[in-house]
């Protein structure tokens, strides 16, 4: 009966680990990717008025996935006009009717979640494990959550019958393409606004797939418009005189430029920018879980996270013990094919981003910090960077000051809670922070002292649509998520 009467072969053992066989998710599950894409304006897929096309590549292979249109000023104007035209009817709908569309979109996202997860992984380079288990569940949850608010705006704490602003111009980054779209579009639609959204130039595909979902849900034409392109298209959108609200997530320099551009106009602005979060570990922390939290804080999504825990502040008395545990844990991280279900760390999103990470880590070495990475093989093609740890870092190092936006952790030490607070707050940014201690009173005291929009206690990089997210200082202003996230899209 048995074809193969041999005992199972001993698999390859690498670095004292039992090596898992490849477990690839099928790229075909991403559905059809067209060779070229136009914009989504007024409920239709349309050609660009210009002839310039951009390419999006799979960062894990460098293969071109598709061409897409570079949005011209005229394209942007068409999209804003379509959104303006749709605004009258959309904002006049009862909230309970708008909710139906949002619930429908949320359900379709759930039904098509595998397709979207695979597409996101191919276009962005992040592992399928994350798109499947983190991004897509959160995307659906955001639409469900804001669908629930649509008919309850009178009770949201902004007075009776709060009104929408009008047309929202939204520009989003490449690190969480679909999740950032959800953070922008769900509250805007729930409150009665219409939107023109520009996805990032390296990751437009899931936004264009979302446009199909809007059609599938029967969303009225022009309520959601997608215009693709690079920074020039984004600038045209934020500058457009008929846009009432601008929401931007991305780098601090671009955010600063947008703020200047909008100064003196009546446009409402929310910015979610960079970060350099301190993840603070006290000597009474739950060590094993702290190690997991540190890993999740900096290596989740290859560290392409604005709220990443990129500065580890560890109490000097447990420095050696914690770093040993952290290195041991980092040695088990699996770097490689993002579509392999066992991959922990995928590809860096672009050649430019890889160059930036490389330049900053070189600076870290030349400034005297001690660099460590686990030994792991990297694929031949694509953009890759090993998970990296810098010890002996002080606040005066560039790698402690500048946002690296990659899988690079800078380790600093502190002696007292007060010193931890001083160092944590000593940054131009203020997006997030983490506290690890078993002492509840210290958690509360620290959270009060830290100048960061999000403070996690004994966890890190946890997101929920009910919880507001946003920054202090150069990390931006305004909040997304929760009841607070409605305010950005209401005339209050």
């Amino acid at each position: 009966m048995a074809k193969n009467n041999k005992k199972a072969e001993e698999p390859v053992r690498k670095n004292g680990l039992f090596e898992y066989a490849p477990a690839p998710e099928s790229p075909a599950a991403a559905g059809d990717i067209a060779t070229s894409y136009g914009h989504f304006i007024g409920g239709e897929f349309v050609e660009s008025s210009g002839s310039e096309a951009l390419k999006t590549v799979n960062p894990a292979t460098e293969q071109v996935l598709a061409e897409f249109a570079h949005g011209t000023d005229e394209d942007v104007d068409r999209a804003v006009t379509a959104a303006r035209k749709a605004f009258a009817d959309w904002s006049a709908l009862p909230g309970s009717e708008r909710a139906k569309y949002l619930f429908r979109i949320a359900r379709i996202i759930q039904e098509r979640s595998r397709e979207l997860a695979v597409l996101e992984s191919i276009d962005n380079g992040k592992p399928i494990r994350e798109t499947r288990d983190v991004d897509l569940p959160l995307v659906a949850a955001h639409f469900f959550y804001y669908a629930g608010w649509a008919d309850k705006l009178d009770y949201a704490g902004f007075g009776p019958n709060p009104r929408p602003l009008g047309v929202a111009g939204q520009v989003i980054p490449w690190n969480f393409p679909l999740l950032m779209l959800a953070w922008k579009i769900a509250p805007a639609l729930a409150t009665g606004n219409t939107v023109v959204l520009k996805p990032a130039e390296t990751t437009p595909l899931t936004a264009l797939r979302f446009a199909e979902i809007c059609r599938q849900a029967g969303l009225p034409k022009g309520v959601v418009n997608i215009v693709t392109g690079d920074g020039r298209t984004g600038a045209a959108l934020t500058a457009h005189p008929d846009v009432n609200k601008v929401a931007f997530t991305g780098s601090t320099p671009v955010g600063r430029a947008i703020a200047k551009q909008l100064a003196g106009t009546r446009k409402k602005l929310s910015l979610e920018l960079g970060g350099k979060a301190a993840n603070i570990v006290f000597d009474d922390a739950p060590i094993d879980q702290a190690v997991e939290g540190i890993v999740n804080g900096i290596f989740f999504n290859q560290g392409h996270v604005c709220c990443a825990g990129s500065r580890l502040l560890v109490q000097e008395s447990i420095q050696d013990e914690l770093l040993d545990a952290l290195k041991r844990r980092m040695a088990t991280l699996r770097v490689g094919d993002p579509l392999d279900k066992n991959t922990d760390i995928g590809a860096i999103n672009s050649a430019e981003q890889l160059a930036r990470i490389t330049a900053l880590t070189d600076a870290g070495e030349s400034e005297g910090a001690e660099r460590w990475s686990p030994s792991c093989d990297l694929p031949a093609n694509g953009f890759w960077f090993r998970p990296t740890l810098f010890t002996g870092v002080s606040q005066a190092h560039r790698i402690a000051q500048e946002e690296i936006f990659g899988p690079v952790l800078s380790v600093l030490t502190f002696r007292t809670p007060t010193e931890a607070v001083e160092k944590a707050n000593n940054t131009p940014y203020g997006l997030s922070a983490g506290i690890w201690t078993e002492k509840g009173s210290r958690i509360l005291w620290m959270a009060n002292q830290l100048k960061a929009g999000v403070v996690w206690a004994n966890t890190f990089n946890k997101f929920d649509p009910t919880s507001p997210f946003g920054g202090y200082k150069e990390s931006g202003y305004g909040r997304e998520g929760g009841r607070h996230g409605l305010e950005a899209y209401l005339d209050v």
Partner: protein, 328 residues
């Protein structure tokens, strides 16, 4: 009594010899261990559970899991016939495929040890016996020690004892410690060798993860060769988070003392999928040092047949069914 502490293998030469010198010092040590964050521990166990073990890795892991099973029958209705049948199953799990590996051990009550020993003669399958008034452990110490000595005298290779959860939960850590030391002593044979001692915590009754970590260290300090989650006789038995925590404990204990201790989750592990999750936890927490039957066991009964069905699927390309594996 506390002088036993110095003889406890786990404490020897590790700088931990004085830990059990008094109730106060033992309490200070156990309560000084790093805390466990419940949410983080459970999240990590769940993430490890999402690993996808396919093709060659799956074939290897199935055979490894079979070879780690302590095939168990612990029923009031056990008979000589039942135990012999189970031993035959352990020796030859899949009569249709002689390449299937044997299990690690057969686990029975003390009065069945002689039967199992005879039925397993000529194999290297171990006989494990539960002892110390298993599963409740509510008997006087001399009774527990006699129970252990009886199983060892009948030829048990391994003893699965239960700790006194009552004493543990009321903070009498030294009593628990000394009892493990005494049972370990009762595992000695006249020729100077010893039966291996597995210490069962009944984690479902300990309730908190902090308690599980403390019990793990307590047992290892007292000389446990293996730490085991559960008896299989209560509502909540082995779970991935509890097992992960115990794996972390043996890892840290070896780092501190140089002494390696085995881990055995037991109760409720029924499917190949479950078993794979445990092997992944061992792999990514301890590496392959522990990925052998010598250092990791599954306390299970129905798990074996599910592994065999999956094994048949891999070798033939077709799903068989419950009538293509033997029920003993």
């Amino acid at each position: 009594m506390s002088t036993l502490a110095a003889n406890a293998p786990g404490a020897a030469g590790s700088g931990l010899a004085d830990v059990a010198a008094s109730e106060a010092s033992l309490r200070r040590f156990l309560h000084g261990l790093p805390g466990v964050d419940q949410v983080g521990l459970e999240a990590r166990a769940a993430t490890l559970g999402t690993r996808s073990i396919k093709t060659t890795a799956k074939a290897y892991a199935i055979d490894l899991a079979i070879s780690m099973i302590d095939l168990t029958t612990l029923e009031g209705a056990d008979t000589v016939g039942k135990v012999r049948a189970l031993c035959t199953k352990g020796r030859n799990p899949d009569p249709s495929d002689p390449s299937a590996p044997r299990v690690a051990a057969i686990c029975v009550y003390p009065d069945m040890v002689a039967t199992a020993k005879a039925a397993l003669r000529g194999t290297d399958i171990q006989v494990a016996s539960v002892a110390t008034a298993f599963p409740a452990g509510r008997a006087a110490l001399p009774v527990k020690l006699a129970d252990t000595a009886d199983a060892v005298a009948d030829g048990a290779d391994e003893i699965d004892m239960v700790i006194d959860r009552g004493a543990f939960l009321s903070g009498r850590y030294l009593d628990v410690f000394n009892e493990i030391v005494a049972v370990k002593e009762a595992c000695r044979r006249p020729d100077g060798t010893s039966a291996h001692l597995k210490v069962i915590f009944e984690t479902g009754e300990l309730q908190t993860y902090d308690n599980v970590r403390r019990a793990s260290w307590l047992a290892m300090l007292a000389g446990a060769d293996f730490i085991k989650t559960s008896t299989g006789k209560v509502a909540v038995n082995a779970t991935p988070p509890v097992t992960l925590l115990m794996l972390e404990a043996v890892r840290d204990f070896r780092a501190q003392t140089g002494i390696q201790v085995g881990v055995k989750p037991a109760g409720g592990i029924k499917t190949t999928k479950d078993a794979m999750k445990y092997l992944v936890m061992v792999n990514e927490t301890l590496g392959d040092d522990w990925l052998t039957p010598h250092w990791f066991r599954f306390g299970a009964s129905s798990l074996l047949n599910d592994l065999l069905m999956q094994r048949q699927k891999l070798t033939t390309g077709r799903y068989s069914g419950p009538d293509y594996v033997t029920v003993d």
